[in-house]
């Protein structure tokens, strides 16, 4: 009860820096290049779409589209290089990376969030179905939402998807760009696979961003119309406590020790 009288170690309105300027700029560059790459790349997949026809079927527009696509690719690669160097060379970067490493808990968390949201286990439990099973495995009851560390499973999935996607796109794209080099090294049938991979991976990335990322940072009623972290980099103590409880407790613990 004594705690109530003294000021809390982490106030609800205390501001924490979740993304520093470098991280925000990396993210901003990613937005710009990703959007450019999608807009200049999709016409090659949906070449019959009237919208693309009306934009790219005039004069040198299609040629300029190609230039823009490759220019954006180069900027994206530079962005990735910056990110890798930043991650390796700074304390904060290394720390972030450590937090980003996937663990078994992430898989469990995803299952738990889904189970809690559906609420079927609780419903069955209340009706007395599978009492013994739930007594032995309380996890499957999905009684409460999981607590997240600095990066939750959604963010980790997006981060690692981006890494995987970038590697695939840069490699296949490079050989599509330098087609003569590619065909000096590989047979045509393999080069054809690069083209297929580049197209499908692009579709996957596009859909993932449009559906998954846009929901989580924009349309989700919790953050609607938009989480502002990518702009100001800040989250409040309250948000830290509710959205990243494990990180919150870690900070709390540190401050207690410092007292």
């Amino acid at each position: 009860m004594a705690e109530q009288t003294s000021p809390p170690l982490i106030a609800d309105d205390e501001v924490f820096l979740r993304m520093n300027l470098a991280e925000r700029l990396q993210h901003l560059l990613l937005i710009v290049t990703f959007t450019t790459l999608i807009l200049t790349g999709l016409p090659l997949i949906f070449y019959d779409l009237g919208l693309f026809k009306s934009v790219f079927a005039y004069g040198r527009a299609f040629y300029i589209r190609g230039l823009l696509h490759r220019a954006a690719a180069v900027v994206l690669i530079l962005d990735i290089v910056w990110h890798v160097v930043y991650t390796a060379a700074t304390e904060r970067g290394r720390n972030n990376f450590r937090e980003m490493i996937p663990r078994f808990k992430d898989f469990r968390d995803a299952l738990q969030v889904f189970g809690t949201n559906v609420g079927l286990s609780g419903f069955l439990h209340r009706r007395g179905v599978g009492k013994r099973f739930f007594a032995r495995h309380p996890f499957w009851l999905f009684a409460a939402e999981p607590e997240f560390d600095r990066y939750n499973f959604v963010e980790k999935l997006e981060y690692w998807s981006l890494i995987w996607g970038s590697v695939v796109m840069i490699l296949s794209g490079f050989f599509m760009w330098r087609v003569e080099l590619s065909l000096r090294l590989f047979p045509l049938w393999l080069h054809n696979i690069f083209i297929i991979v580049h197209g499908y991976e692009a579709m996957l990335a596009f859909l993932a961003v449009i559906i998954w990322h846009m929901y989580n940072v924009h349309l989700n009623p919790e953050v609607f119309p938009m989480s502002k972290v990518w702009l100001n980099g800040r989250i409040t103590g309250h948000e830290l406590r509710t959205l990243h409880a494990l990180e919150y407790r870690k900070i709390l613990e540190e401050r207690r020790r410092e007292l």
Partner: protein, 423 residues
């Protein structure tokens, strides 16, 4: 004194002499000398004001006529208007017998009689010599002023065929010629070798296209175009299309199937049917035809597989610097890939691809250019990668959507519960 004038004066003098010597009306005719001289005609027709009741002119322009072929040859009025030869009563009857050119030009008359212009199709009115050649100012074709000079012929033919006399495909079809490279060559560059109407259709012996003897009939068109485009005809006859054409195949394309008939333009012309980005549409009229594919044993889905490639996609957006059908397959002498001279024979592919892709090597031949889903055996790995990605996308996106649905489901449920239980 120039020659025609001299001749006329001689004729006049002789005529006058005979007229004085013989008073019998049958006298001059019997002697082969017209009783009616050109001067007699000109007494009235030399007046520029002389008009018919309906206002049309009856004036005979002597200067013009003297420059004509017949004027040069010294023909007199009544040599053609023979029914006036023995006329003494002037003014003569308003309606004269038609001039019979065949009296002298018998051979040409025979050609015309067998041609479309003699009303071969019976529905049409026969065309008279004067419709093309004019009347008093008929000039040889090499005279710039002649209505049948190469420079004037298109206009002369269009006088009827653009509007009045519709050929089976209409006047618009005829006028397409004016956009053609042939017309430009003729009118802009003044090359009379550039094809005009008669180069392709003939002169007096024009026959309807559907007549197998016509110069523009399918059976003759190669020869007709080849009269000028000799090298191209040679090339065509060496390719698969030409070889089948010689055997009488009705399926292979002839010149006009790809280049059109009147609207033939240079391939660089945006309106050309063989413009870089339009070639594919021409080729697949046959090469995406299942019936022809089965008959001749070629693969269809060529357009789909072309547009699916970067070459085809870029071409669809109007990019001309990418390969179209002709870039790889050639055009007039397209050969089967099994032919060692074929540009797409695997042995020649590096060279063919190398025209754009500098330094192209043997790897260009190791795989398919036209990949179709049906050719799974051609590239199993490609198929496997496609299936993998489609499955991955389907599973991941479904999972995302399911997750989002569950999230929204709970949020709506909680909101609803909170409303029911006011705190």
């Amino acid at each position: 004194m120039n020659r025609p004038a001299f001749l006329i004066s001689v004729i006049l003098a002789l005529g006058l002499g005979y007229g004085l010597a013989f008073t019998s009306p049958s006298g001059p005719a019997a002697l082969g000398t017209p009783a009616v001289s050109d001067d007699d005609c000109l007494t009235c027709h030399g007046d520029p004001e002389l008009n018919r009741a309906d206002g049309t002119s009856l004036y005979f322009d002597q200067d013009k006529a003297q420059g004509s072929s017949h004027g040069q040859a010294g023909l007199s009025c009544v040599d053609c208007h023979t029914d006036l030869k023995a006329t003494t009563d002037f003014p003569h009857a308003e309606k004269l017998r038609p001039v019979v050119c065949a009296a002298c030009h018998e051979d040409i008359y025979q050609e015309i009689k067998a041609s479309v212009h003699d009303g071969l199709e019976k529905k049409q009115v026969p065309v008279g010599c004067k419709d093309c050649h004019g009347t008093h100012d008929i000039r040889p074709a090499d005279d710039f002023e002649s209505s049948v000079s190469p420079l004037n012929l298109p206009e002369t033919c269009e006088k009827c065929h653009a509007e009045k006399v519709k050929t089976p495909r209409g006047g618009e079809f005829i006028r397409q010629y004016e956009a053609s490279a042939h017309f430009q060559g003729l009118m802009k560059s003044g090359l009379t070798l550039s094809a005009n109407c008669s180069h392709c259709h003939g002169v007096h012996d024009i026959l309807p296209t559907k007549d197998p003897a016509s110069r523009v009939a399918r059976s003759n068109i190669i020869r007709t175009c080849g009269r000028c485009h000799v090298g191209i005809e040679k090339s065509y006859r060496e390719g698969v299309h030409g070889k089948a054409y010689v055997k009488g195949s009705g399926d292979v394309p002839v010149c006009t199937d790809c280049h059109s008939e009147h609207d033939i333009r240079a391939p660089e012309d945006l309106g050309s049917r063989v413009y870089a980005t339009k070639v594919a549409a021409i080729c697949v009229r046959c090469h995406d035809d299942e019936r022809l594919g089965r008959l001749y044993g070629f693969l269809t889905s060529r357009l789909k597989t072309y547009f699916g490639s970067y070459h085809g996609t870029a071409s669809k957006f109007g990019e001309t610097r990418v390969a179209n059908c002709a870039s790889c397959h050639g055009f007039h002498d397209i050969r089967d890939s099994s032919d060692p001279d074929s540009s797409i024979n695997p042995a020649n592919l590096p060279k063919t691809c190398g025209t754009c892709h500098t330094g192209a090597g043997a790897n260009f031949a190791k795989g398919k250019i036209h990949e179709t889903p049906a050719e799974m055996s051609g590239n199993r790995w490609a198929q496997a990668v496609k299936v993998f990605y489609i499955a991955l996308i389907a599973v991941l996106i479904s999972a995302f959507l399911l997750f989002i649905a569950a999230d929204l489901f709970r949020k709506v449920r909680l909101k609803w519960l909170n409303k029911r239980r006011p705190r």
